[in-house]
């Protein structure tokens, strides 16, 4: 039977998945909410005049009943969750695959997501395998007094180690994507922050559990991109560096490879550290029999010590950064295409030896936000939106080029992902600057004030890439 994919996501990733399906010769449908009616991911595929409607309105991207009822009605055989929403929800993956009319979940098996999708469990499994993790709790804490004692203990240990400015991070255990995290420097601040995070966690995620960890300073945030199949095949597509993040710890600029000696004089052998995190990632992937795409997130301290942060059991926003430094038969791979193909049961068809790494790549996330006011989201209407076209760049966006677009306030104000690549990091940086100078974004908010984007911030930060 020919496969048909339901794309259970929005924005640029929905478009990228649709295009990957088309390149594999697969039929597909998309879902959308009322707030996204004007998004390009809907308009491009909405044809209400014919019976071949490919975009279906649902109540919410997180309503599994709506998604599954559309999947059944449109006779889909597989669901691609994209990133965010249900992408790392093992219950959803299980429900998709175990039902009267089973569907293929395009992602790892639900058992694997259960093992690794939960960052607390990941920490426990990693600790068992001798993979280094950040000092702190490995279970959610619900009791304020217990939480305070743990925080005090972590702060004390840092003082004993002679760490300047000891601090702890209080995180919503069920959170992710940098949301619901606050830093505490003084023990007397702890209760207020704890209550604030617990309240946020209850409201946003329905679970008030928090994690408490040592706050590492002066580090780089790295990622290892793995691609695995249902046939016990596992390869990696290099490393990425995504240290440049908003104050809410959301990534803004990413680069591959993870370190480059031309950018900074490291206190360690960068190749050795990168190799170490790749090997640790593969070790954990082997242990849990990982079987689709996934990203292993690492913190590397200034002295080169790596700590596993979490595993993202899904396709990552920045997957194409890895693809643009990787070559399979002299071509850049499409990791979303690989993800779909492997989830549907294909064998990989290549080994690690066949993957060649060359050059450097940078991703710039163009967001409507006020970077000077804590990356405050900007809401308004975009009246003009255009990007340069080069053979060394790619743009992924759901914002239309040919009509005004009101940014929906229900979701993050991400406008586009711009990818630039070059023969080395210097060339990629130079092209990144040139690209940003050529971008045109115009618009205004309800008060008639002009649009605010993070483009100046992106320009300022290109030089800070791959540095401590």
């Amino acid at each position: 039977m020919k496969e048909k994919v339901l794309i259970a996501n929005r924005g640029e990733i929905a478009i990228r998945i649709a295009e990957a399906c088309q390149s594999l010769g697969l039929d597909f449908v998309l879902v959308y909410t009322g707030a996204d009616e004007d998004s390009e991911h809907v308009r491009r595929y909405l044809d209400s005049k014919s019976n071949k409607n490919r975009a279906w309105r649902i109540s919410n991207y997180t309503d599994p009943n709506d998604i599954l009822s559309v999947a059944d009605y449109t006779k889909c055989t597989a669901i691609h969750p994209g990133y965010g929403f249900f992408s790392e929800d093992f219950r959803f993956a299980r429900r998709v695959t175990i039902r009267n009319r089973p569907l293929t979940f395009i992602g790892p098996k639900w058992e694997v997501i259960k093992d690794l999708g939960d960052k607390i469990n990941t920490k426990r499994v990693a600790n068992k395998l001798g993979i280094p993790t950040i000092p702190g709790t490995d279970a959610p804490i619900y009791n304020e007094i217990e939480a305070e004692a743990i925080a005090e203990n972590i702060l004390e240990k840092q003082e004993i180690q002679g760490i300047a400015e000891p601090s702890v991070l209080v995180k919503a255990a069920a959170g992710g994507g940098g949301m619901g995290i606050e830093e505490v420097l003084q023990p007397e601040q702890f209760r207020r922050v704890y209550r604030q995070i617990q309240n946020y966690a209850k409201r946003q995620f329905g679970d008030g559990g928090v994690l408490i960890e040592q706050c590492l300073r002066d580090y780089n945030h790295l990622e290892v991109q793995l691609v695995c199949s249902r046939h016990n095949e596992r390869v990696y597509f290099g490393t990425r560096n995504c240290t440049i993040q908003s104050t809410g710890r959301q990534k803004r600029v990413e680069a591959a490879p993870g370190f480059d000696s031309s950018c900074f004089s490291y206190d360690f052998d960068p190749d050795d550290v990168l190799n170490k995190i790749v090997q640790y990632s593969l070790k954990l992937a082997d242990h849990v029999k990982y079987d689709n795409v996934g990203t292993w997130e690492w913190i590397v301290a200034r002295d080169g010590s790596p700590y596993l942060l979490e595993v993202n059991t899904r396709i990552q926003v920045e997957n194409d950064v890895s693809a643009r430094i990787s070559y399979l038969k002299k071509k850049h791979p499409n990791l979303i295409r690989e993800q779909i193909r492997l989830a549907l049961g294909d064998k990989m068809g290549y080994s690690q030896k066949k993957i060649k790494f060359k050059g450097a790549c940078i991703e710039l996330r163009v967001v409507a936000e006020d970077t000077r006011r804590g990356f405050q989201p900007w809401i308004g209407t975009i009246s003009r939106f255009d990007f340069p076209r080069h053979d060394w760049s790619a743009v992924y966006t759901h914002v239309p080029f040919d009509r005004p677009y009101v940014i929906p306030s229900d979701y993050d104000p991400n406008l586009a992902l711009a990818i630039v690549w070059g023969a080395d990091v210097d060339e990629a940086k130079e092209r990144g600057r040139r690209f940003l100078n050529e971008v045109v974004i115009e618009g205004e908010n309800g008060k008639g004030e002009p649009i605010l984007t993070n483009i100046p911030y992106l320009k300022d930060n290109i030089d800070n890439l791959l540095r401590f």
Binding site: G34, S59, D66, I379, D410, P413, G446
Partner: protein
């Protein structure tokens, strides 16, 4: 606010003393209607509002029937019978109920024009701040006074929580127009503030509507 202003508002409601409630499908599924056009329907009732209104339609999906009941008593003024038995998307307008406005609603609508509105700064979801919410829980919102600079609300926008500080005339929170977690449009009033000196005027409006409205 003089009597002629109140007269003018009341005349508007006398000319069209009806409210209209649209029912949109709350999710996807196959739809089956249980009412017809011009049929009388009952709204939710009972001491604890525990008795459901008339069953309007049901949505079937994932092996479950989701019945949707009328929230107001009135007449079915329009219905999409062309969708009977078909798969519908979420958010489809399927039924409109016309109902006679009650005194309480007329008062609330007039007060909305009279009270000092505190408007939504952005299209977002709103919650009372922890302190204000605990005072409301204890004493009721009409006993909670606010003044400029007080942190009264939390704006949840794109998953970020931002404190909102009150700006405007000091007074008590007389009316609350938002529901926690439901998106409010920019510039929609979130709460209606009644300055202390306006309380007698507000009471006069309430008494007048109570006395004059049948």
């Amino acid at each position: 606010m003089d009597d002629s202003y109140v007269n003018e508002i009341l005349a508007q409601y006398r000319a069209d003393p009806y409210g209209y409630v649209d029912s949109h499908t709350i999710h996807t599924g196959s739809i089956n209607f249980y009412v017809k056009k011009d049929e009388k329907v009952e709204g939710v009732s009972g001491e604890w509002r525990h008795i459901s209104g008339t069953k309007l339609y049901s949505l079937h999906r994932e092996g479950n029937d989701k019945p949707v009941f009328s929230r107001s008593s009135g007449i079915v003024s329009s219905i999409r019978t062309d969708l009977e038995g078909k798969f519908v998307e979420a958010g489809e307008k399927v039924i409109t109920i016309r109902y006679p406005l009650k005194k309480r609603e007329i008062i609330e609508k007039i007060l909305r024009r009279v009270l000092v509105p505190f408007k939504a700064p952005e299209r977002a979801k709103y919650f009372f701040s922890l302190d204000i919410q605990s005072r409301i829980d204890k004493f009721g919102h009409r006993s909670v006074a606010v003044k400029p600079g007080d942190e009264i609300l939390t704006m949840s926008l794109m998953k970020r929580d931002t404190p909102i500080y009150y700006q405007g005339e000091p007074g008590i929170i007389h009316s609350v127009y938002f529901q926690p977690g439901i998106t409010m449009e920019q510039d929609e009033p979130l709460i209606g503030i009644c300055p202390a000196e306006k309380l007698p005027v507000i009471q006069k409006v309430i008494n007048r509507v109570k006395a004059e409205w049948e």
